[in-house]
């Protein structure tokens, strides 16, 4: 199963990472590498769009938790949007839904904090 990662740098200093496919032990390293690049860039806000993600496991969740920790350390804003029912359910089981800034739409997520 392939995973597609597409990142865009927006004019307002934010960056969007669109993920399509299944995030598992095999693909989460690629997601982590792309997030690392984004956190090392000069973008002040990173929005991860999960609307194309049909499956996520604990390694995918761990990658996003790492992103959250990097955002705290770097004072960058880190937001999630487009959680599919499967992804939302996994976040709920892990009691992590309230820990992240989760938005229904990418447009809302990209608004300034």
């Amino acid at each position: 199963m392939k995973i597609e990662l597409e990142s865009h740098r927006n004019e307002n200093g934010s960056a969007t990472l669109m993920i399509k496919g299944e995030i598992d032990m095999n693909s989460s390293t690629r997601v982590r590498a792309r997030l690392t690049d984004l956190f090392q860039s000069d973008q002040n806000m990173i929005v991860v769009d999960l609307s194309g993600v049909s499956y996520i496991d604990s390694s995918g969740i761990a990658t996003l938790v790492e992103g959250l920790q990097w955002s705290h350390n770097s004072k960058k804003i880190f937001r999630l949007t487009g959680l599919t029912p499967m992804v939302r359910d996994v976040f709920e089981i892990a009691r992590l839904l309230t820990v992240f800034e989760v938005y229904d739409s990418k447009e809302e997520a990209l608004k300034e904090a």
Partner: protein, 152 residues
């Protein structure tokens, strides 16, 4: 009637998706709701990931044998590996009040499955048996209701 499916995958993460597809196909033929299907797939996937990571230390060429058994009201999966044996009593889930990466796979398995049994009473490896009692048309309530989350 009980339907049984067996498969063996190499201990390479790129084959985890095969196991997920087989289980999805099996459950789809038995009126198992989509949300329960996804949770069962998650548990099997996490168990296989743990074997790759801890049992086989990331070596991709060892076998993982998976046997699914599905009756009307009961799903059972046995997962056999021939890797390093771990002491099941030392498997720890991450405390949920600690927000940190890792440690969630075992938590998902224990949270979702009704029975989880690790048998290391053999020369090599471990036999993990996990069961879930199925209720017709059951959905997890959280899937379909609005949640009291910190959404903006």
């Amino acid at each position: 009637m009980t339907e049984r499916v067996k498969l063996t995958i190499p201990s390479d993460p790129k084959y985890l998706c095969l196991c997920r597809k087989v289980l999805q196909h099996l459950l789809a033929g038995h009126d198992v709701s989509e949300d329960i299907t996804q949770r069962l797939i998650l548990c099997v996937d996490e168990a296989c990931s743990n074997i790759i990571k801890y049992g086989y230390d990331g070596c991709p060429d060892f076998p993982i044998e998976i046997a699914f058994s599905l009756a009307d009201d009961r799903f059972e999966v046995q997962i056999r590996d021939y890797g390093k044996q771990c002491n099941p009593s030392q498997f720890k889930s991450r405390p949920l009040d600690k927000i940190e990466p890792g440690g969630l796979g075992t938590f998902f398995i224990n949270e979702i499955m009704d029975e989880v049994h690790y048998c290391t009473d053999r020369e090599k490896g471990t036999l993990l048996t996990m069961c879930k009692h199925l209720v017709k048309n059951e959905c997890f309530p959280a899937q379909n209701k609005s949640r009291g989350s910190h959404e903006n």
